[in-house]
Amino acid sequence: MTAKLGEEFNDRLSRVPLNLTSTGVDPFGLDPQWTKYALASVAFLHRHYFRSEVFGAENLPTGRVLVVANHSGQLPFDATLIGAALFMDVEPPRFMRAMVEKWTQTLPFVSLLFSRIGQVVGVPENARMLLENDEALLVFPEGARGISKTFDKRYQLVDFGLGFMRLALETNTPIVPVAVIGGEEQYVSVGNFEALAKFLRMPFLPILPQLALPFGALPLPTRYRIYFGEPMRFSGDPDDDDAIIEEKVFVVRAAIQAMVHRGLNARKSIFF
């Protein structure tokens, strides 16, 4: 399975730092076997399905880092591709940790998969622990509102949560802003099926006309472009008023929005 990804994949796999304990898994349940297959699948998506282009991979510092990105595309392929980029394109390779929605823990198989590939429940204590272990942590401050954007709102960032900034201040972690281009077109959402979503206890349920097509459940093979910005460092009191934290968050949000605009202008085609 890993042959198609070349020698490079295995070489990188041997160099990626994992925090395993004596029981063969890390404290969050990451299992190296599962992780290998997960990385191989996302690397395949990254190289062959979405054929992502990565810019500014050299901007990623070693040591603890918060990767803050725009969120899009109904299903979190943006997260997997940022993870793939961190593993395949960043030197030295990093294993990305992301925070997942709490309700995913109630889903069979999904909760199991997330735990084994080191994706943790989105609570501040977990984030703090990961950063203290010098991991690379991915955050989507837009949350579910960002990923469930309808097509007419594409590439317009919604409001950012403030939690990531308090976390960065508290743990003295640099923030790397990331713009992901290409995710908004993979699933074209024309609305949100709120009543059914509520019934199924899901945060949202997009209405996707493409599901009517053959293989419509697959995301459209848009070409992803992932821009890593320069690390931003902030200082201040993590327990400051919302207004003061908001100013700092706004700086990050503006940086990402600017990178998104630049990326969209540079893009010639959605699919190539």
């Binding site: 349940g29 999904v110 429940v121």
Partner: protein, 311 residues
């Protein structure tokens, strides 16, 4: 007599963990074992007071000689016993014990609570520290008297600061003990929930006994979580035991377990399924730093210990 050498009163001493503790302590200290159950193979120098902790007779035990420490292990958790019985024993009985500790100025009170008071929840942090809220009764109301015991003890901290009070919250204790976790792992075929494999922490009973002993050091007070060796997925524990395993979908197992429970064919109430579904793990940094606690048993020894019967 100096602090650190006086008499220790252990409640619930005839449970398996209680016996283990008494056997460890009696070599160095005078031990009074309080339990209404018999203690047939007790060490000769241990005094067994066969009383119900709710009875007045317990007061005579305190009156007879100065007690240096009370170790309360006698928390009842029998899923078959009624709520009234639980409450009378765990809360009312415990309050009596409190009164005596206060009245006879016992310098130390150690209460064995459990990490289960935090409760397995989908939104739990991977490692809960001692300040995490005790939410177990949200999904499993029968456990609320155990939470009440923990809370009552917390109230004791500030009401009677002259008594050094310690609450110990160990994760699932494995060994010869008869608790839900050990009984579950003793099943000939271990059922798990399809698509769920939470990380779990287990601790060997001898490590708990060692930690209990460490809390007796004069000056130690506070709440301590207690975890054993490094955590691991439930499936790895099943693999270590080498027993067959059957994965059942959650909805089905919940329905079946409810039915079996009503027919009195199982000792596991359906809400306990959450323990093999969600994470409920603790951070025991405080116990390691302040008590000097360090689990001595490896994960293999800890897990396999459920197979050993009596001593």
């Amino acid at each position: 007599m100096d602090r650190g050498e006086g008499t220790i009163l252990v409640t619930g001493a005839c449970g398996r963990l209680g016996k283990h503790l008494v056997r460890t302590l009696h070599r160095r200290r005078r031990v009074i074992a309080v339990d209404r159950r018999p203690f047939p193979d007790k060490p000769k120098d241990v005094v067994h007071e066969c009383v119900d902790i709710r009875r007045k007779k317990l007061k005579d035990v305190f009156r007879a000689e100065p007690i240096e420490a009370v170790m309360h292990l006698g928390v009842m958790h029998d899923p078959r016993a009624s709520q009234d019985e639980h409450h009378a024993w765990n809360v009312a009985g415990f309050q009596k014990l409190f009164d005596y500790v206060e009245q006879f100025r016992v310098p130390k009170l150690v209460v064995l609570s459990s990490a289960n008071v935090y409760g397995p929840q989908p939104h739990n942090a991977q490692f809960l520290d001692e300040s995490a809220p005790l939410l177990a009764s949200a999904r499993f109301s029968e456990i609320r008297d155990l939470i009440e015991v923990d809370m009552l003890t917390q109230g004791f901290f500030w009401k009677h600061p002259q008594t050094e009070t310690v609450i110990l919250r160990p994760v699932h204790i494995l060994g010869t003990v008869h608790n839900a976790a050990s009984n579950f792992l003793r099943l000939p075929t271990i059922p798990t929930l399809m698509g769920f494999d939470p990380m779990v922490q287990v601790v060997h009973e001898s490590d708990v006994v060692r930690a209990l002993e460490q809390t007796l050091t004069p000056g130690k007070r506070g709440i301590y979580n207690l975890a054993g060796p490094e955590p691991l997925p439930l499936s790895h524990i099943v693999k270590l035991l080498g027993r067959p395993n059957i994965a059942v979908p959650y909805m089905l197992s919940k329905a079946v377990l409810k039915r079996l429970w009503n027919l009195r064919l199982t000792t596991f109430p359906a809400p306990e399924l959450d323990h093999i579904r969600f994470v409920c793990m603790v951070d025991d940094k405080r116990a390691r730093d302040e008590l000097g606690y360090m689990p001595a048993m490896s994960i293999e020894e800890t897990v396999r210990s459920v197979d050993f019967g009596r001593w």
